[in-house]
Subunit: 197 residues, 2 copies
DNA sequence: ACCATAACTGAACGCCTGTTCAGTTCAAGA
DNA sequence: TCTTGAACTGAACAGGCGTTCAGTTATGGT
């Protein structure tokens, strides 16, 4: 037997990525075998190699496309001029974007150590660009007096850690709706950077 | 051949745990083999089973003892009565304790999904007790008017995520000394909970 | 000096790993 | 209708996995 009826590269490729994302997020990259991914897709393990050169690249591609999507989405986000408004936009965007893709977020934060050195550098560079977006806002606010921050780099790291932490405990249908969470985190973020007004 | 000269259970046991901690933190639980741990200790793989019933328990014991140490250390920490002072004490304690044991922290936060269900519950319970310690401070401050927090549970999760994030970027001998980092985070934490004064 | 036993080895168990590849099947283009 | 090649199978590769255990050795107590 070979090739099932009605099969197409165009659907199998994405399904491989989706299955890998789900399994990597749930059990971790190292704990998931190519055969498990293949079974999830409904295919033999060998067929996966039509869609990825190897397991490592499969992981890298998931992380890279997640971070590129993140940067593109933030770039397309409408944001005002004033640092306060931009910070609020960032907080809402970050929480919304991350809560919408818990699997990708989990992988991007947990599987860094499973990347080869060169892949790691590429991912780190993308992540750094995102951090810089927030730091730019904080610096602008510091410069025009809207914020009062002892150290913009530390505040950047602190805020991102705080915001990303939401994905660790938020559950759809829980005590608070997403909009309430966003509002509360906006409040805390603004206070933390000593926003005036 | 068997039993090397000068070998003792009392030294080998801790060395197994130390080697496991280092390797788990660096490569992840699933990616580390018992043979690698044994090699690090300078022993054959079979000898590890004199010190742990299996690999899973080795992980669990590392996490459990880390969290119990954390709770005991916080219990022994001198802390004032006023919520502001207690929050400052918590921030300094948390950062100090975590920066002193980066491996254990990494494992405790990254390897939760590799625990068996019952082991997971036990670890979660310990972690919850620690979170409650912070939430108690925030609630006390909310009650006596020192803090202004929309939601104490969310603020708890936000602060812990923010503080623990330090371990992701802090490097000994970097731009800022540990005390400076602690001071800056105290400032941000107090602001974030709307501390008066 | 001797012995009991704690500490450890080395080989084996069955099973799983990522990856390759010759062979098979189906769908679409001519 | 025939042919071509994309899509996929199934078996194999060499090696690694966690764990067990009979056997060996050094040590502390007598």
């Amino acid at each position: 037997m070979a090739r099932k009826t009605g099969s197409h590269s165009q659907t199998t490729g994405p399904r491989v990525r989706a299955a890998a994302a789900t399994l990597f997020a749930r059990h971790g990259f190292a704990a998931v075998s190519m055969r498990q991914i293949a079974a999830e897709v409904g295919v033999q393990a060998g067929a996966l190699y039509l869609y990825t050169p190897d397991k490592q690249t499969l992981l890298f591609d998931l992380m890279q496309s997640h971070l590129e999507e993140l940067l593109a989405a933030w770039g397309a986000e409408p944001k005002g001029d004033a640092p306060c408004g931009r910070l609020v936009a960032f907080v809402r965007f970050h929480i919304g974007f991350h809560l919408a893709r818990p699997e990708a977020v989990f992988i991007a934060y947990m599987e860094l150590r499973n990347l080869s050195p060169e892949n790691f550098r590429a991912i780190e560079a993308l992540r750094h660009r995102y951090e810089d977006a927030l730091e730019g806002i904080l610096r602008a606010g510091q410069a025009d007096g809207s914020f009062h921050i002892p150290d913009t780099r530390l505040a950047t790291m602190a805020l991102i850690a705080m915001l990303t932490g939401v994905t660790n405990w938020y559950r759809e249908g829980g005590r608070l709706a997403r909009a309430e969470v966003e509002a509360i985190y906006c409040d805390m973020a603004l206070k933390a950077v000593g926003a005036t007004g």
